[in-house]
């Protein structure tokens, strides 16, 4: 069942793209060392020195890349907003200062007015305040879902890639099944298991969808590493198996994992909005979240599109920021792009 390199070229598509990214792992590290000839002495201290130069060489290329800088700037502003949002919001996101203007029949959504530049929502809460505060929950959902997927994927991928044999086959069959279900539909199925949707079920559902992607990525780069010269050299030197896995193989696989994680941050935020839209999001809106605000805006969108546009713009900009960062990271870590 082991795929030959040729087979992998055209085999199962989604897996392919992941595997292709995985292939950049070993080569990046080798390239960062500045040569193809790796002596045994080098192999002994791969993890420390190599991690350093890998980051250093990538940073050198990223520092002047406007795409990366734009993405990083957006991300930075987003994180700052997530931290200070509640303090700069003019109103409490739960308070309903415009409640008196909400008339179910004639005027369900109060418009912009002095003191409320974006107007209110359908229960008279200040839209601007909710947007400013909402960033924090959005960041939490994105980061926790990514971390969950990363942790699950790391565990499975390391198991499969490091042990091999039947463990590998079993883990990979399950991963293949998960990959063959479209992400959102998988998330929907998982979210539907829960008795009542909540922030936690949203996070879990999105995290599970990412597990197979990270697992396959890790396993692919582990396999590539296992065949690489520096692991062979370490083994020849009698380095213990677990030390090879954790000190040599894992650190060198991290490049593509970081890239993938950055991209997943974007998808996680978008998918959270999708779940919310399908009624599987967190119904408790005392702590606003952009995806939730966007999902809940659907009832008023035809008459009051701004209710959807503002949170959507926030999501688009932040997702774009993560994507720009991820894509430029991928380019910087890809040895092919250095020509």
């Amino acid at each position: 069942m082991t795929p030959s390199p040729d087979r992998r070229r055209f085999g199962d598509s989604k897996k392919d793209r992941i595997d292709a990214l995985a292939q950049t792992a070993g080569s990046t590290a080798g390239g960062a060392q500045g040569g193809t000839v790796m002596t045994v002495a080098d192999a002994g201290r791969v993890s420390g020195g190599e991690g350093q130069s890998l980051i250093a060489s990538a940073w050198k290329r990223l520092r002047r890349n406007p795409v990366f800088l734009t993405g990083a700037a957006i991300t930075f502003v987003f994180i700052v907003l997530a931290i200070i949002g509640p303090w700069i919001a003019p109103y409490d996101p739960v308070a309903q200062p415009l409640l008196s203007q909400v008339r179910r029949q004639t005027n369900p959504v109060p418009g912009p007015q002095p003191g409320f530049p974006l107007g209110g929502d359908d229960v008279g809460r200040d839209l601007l305040s909710r947007l400013l505060v909402g960033g924090r929950q959005t960041l939490i959902v994105g980061v926790l879902a990514t971390l969950g997927g990363l942790f699950g994927g790391l565990t499975l991928g390391t198991l499969a890639g490091a042990i091999g044999g039947w463990v590998d086959s079993l883990v990979m069959r399950i991963v293949d099944v998960m990959l063959s279900i479209p992400g959102l539909i998988l998330a929907v199925s998982i979210a539907a298991i829960a008795a009542s949707p909540s922030q936690t079920t949203v996070i879990i559902a999105i995290a599970v969808v990412q597990i197979p992607i990270f697992a396959r990525l890790l396993r692919g780069s582990m396999l590539a590493q296992r065949a690489s010269d520096h692991v062979l050299a370490a083994r020849a030197l009698g380095v213990k198996p677990h030390a090879i896995v954790f000190r040599h193989m894992l650190p060198n696989s991290l490049g593509p994992v970081i890239v993938q994680a950055t991209l997943v941050l974007a998808t996680a935020i978008i998918e959270a909005a999708g779940l919310s839209f399908l009624g599987l999001g967190n119904p408790d809106d005392r702590q606003p979240e952009w995806g939730q605000m966007l999902g809940q805006a659907q009832n008023y969108v035809s008459d009051y599109p701004h209710l959807a546009i503002y949170p959507a713009l926030c999501i688009i900009v932040v997702a774009l920021g993560f994507t720009l960062m991820g894509e430029s990271l991928r380019e910087a870590l890809d040895p092919k792009s250095r020509r």
């Binding site: 040729d6 070229r9 055209f10 085999g11 199962d12 598509s13 989604k14 392919d16 793209r17 069959r173 399950i174 293949d176 099944v177 063959s180 279900i181 479209p182 992400g183 959102l184 539909i185 929907v188 199925s189 539907a192 298991i193 829960a194 008795a195 974007a266 978008i270 909005a273 999708g274 839209f277 399908l278 009624g279 599987l280 966007l294 659907q298 969108v301 035809s302 599109p305 959807a308 546009i309 959507a312 999501i315 688009i316 900009v317 997702a319 774009l320 994507t323 720009l324 894509e327 092919k336 020509r339």
Partner: protein
């Protein structure tokens, strides 16, 4: 070639078996178990026990799984209890399926017909304003939630400008003959041109929304692939032979550069199915996506199971077809 197809079919069967096991366990893990799911929370204990026996839920797990497989293999997922109450869940799927196929086909056509030429063009004029603009556009395309894009398209082109219909598959007052369940195709087959045109108009906005992500991905893969291929030695050879740029473009650049794009198109079926769930809901388009959204809302588990199974099956089958196509167009695989 035949061995390759057989091996893929076996792999496919493996995926379906594991998926059915997962679905089976998932069904068991539902809050309150199968019985509550079917009877609702307020059933009497006697009624519950009766149903448990009738369904064989008192038997060991592996027997239950075997029975489940037997039922599923014959398309018997049980009656729908929400989407179309009383109808067989599999029938619900069958009645909705053509609509989604129609929508997804148009969406992928839009994505391919714009994505590939634009990708080639952008790559050949690397770093020009048109390249930067389309790369930026594709990045934004991925960042925009599909249902939000659907909302905006609907708002501008259907509600504000009134150019295209707001929702549905066809004007309900239109008395169109049904042949295949594909409305556009039906109109063409029966030569009811107004019916075909009306169905097509209903398709345009949802298809555009649905095409956004596949377009962005196909564009970027094409661009990256063309950028790789033009650096290849054989393109330099083709130039050294003094060939016309038309032949270099078609025979030497595109024929190689499109190989990864073919695989990507298969990969996008997954994104299309997921996107259909969101888009169809926005446009009240009665396909499997909309059925899935309703099934989630009203907890119609039999329909949910069929649809998830079907989504995976469609994905696997499309990718099998893509792999076969790939093998046909890439001699390195065909002639091995």
């Amino acid at each position: 070639m035949l061995r390759f197809i057989v091996r893929r079919l076996i792999q496919m069967a493996g995926v379906v078996v594991v998926l059915s096991l997962l679905l089976f366990l998932w069904f068991k893990a539902l809050p309150g178990g199968t019985v509550s799911a079917m009877l609702g929370e307020r059933a009497t204990p006697e009624r519950r026990r009766e149903l448990e026996q009738a369904l064989g839920l008192d038997q060991p797990l592996w027997v239950q799984y075997w029975n489940y497989i037997k039922r599923v293999a014959t398309g018997n997922f049980g009656p729908s209890n929400g989407v179309l109450p009383g109808r067989d869940a599999f029938e619900v799927f069958l009645s909705r399926f053509p609509a989604t196929i129609e929508l997804a086909t148009l969406a992928i056509l839009i994505a391919v017909l714009i994505g590939i030429p634009l990708g080639y063009f952008a790559a050949r004029r690397r770093d020009s304003w048109i390249d930067n603009l389309s790369v930026m556009g594709s990045l934004v395309g991925v960042a925009v939630p599909v249902f939000f894009l659907a909302f905006m398209l609907k708002h501008w082109f259907a509600v504000e400008l009134n150019w295209l219909p707001v929702s549905g598959r066809q004007d309900p007052t239109m008395d169109a003959t049904r042949v295949t369940g594909f409305f556009v195709l039906d109109g063409i087959l029966t030569q009811e041109w107004d019916a075909a045109w009306d169905a097509l108009k209903h398709l345009i906005l949802p298809a555009l929304a649905l095409a956004s992500i596949p377009f962005a991905v196909i564009f970027r893969i094409t661009r990256a692939s063309v950028l790789d291929v033009v650096e290849e030695d054989y393109v330099r050879t083709a130039n050294a032979k003094g060939l016309t740029s038309r032949i270099i473009r078609g025979r030497h650049i595109l024929r190689n550069a499109l190989l990864p794009v073919v695989t990507t198109i298969g990969l996008q079926t997954g994104a299309l199915l997921a996107g259909a769930v969101l888009t169809e809901r926005v446009f009240s388009y009665t396909g499997i996506g909309q059925a899935l959204a309703i099934a989630i809302e009203v907890k119609d588990y039999p329909v949910l199971q069929v649809l998830i199974m079907a989504a995976a099956a469609v994905y696997v089958v499309v990718n099998l077809l893509v792999d076969i196509t790939y093998a046909i167009i890439d001699p390195r695989i065909r002639t091995r």
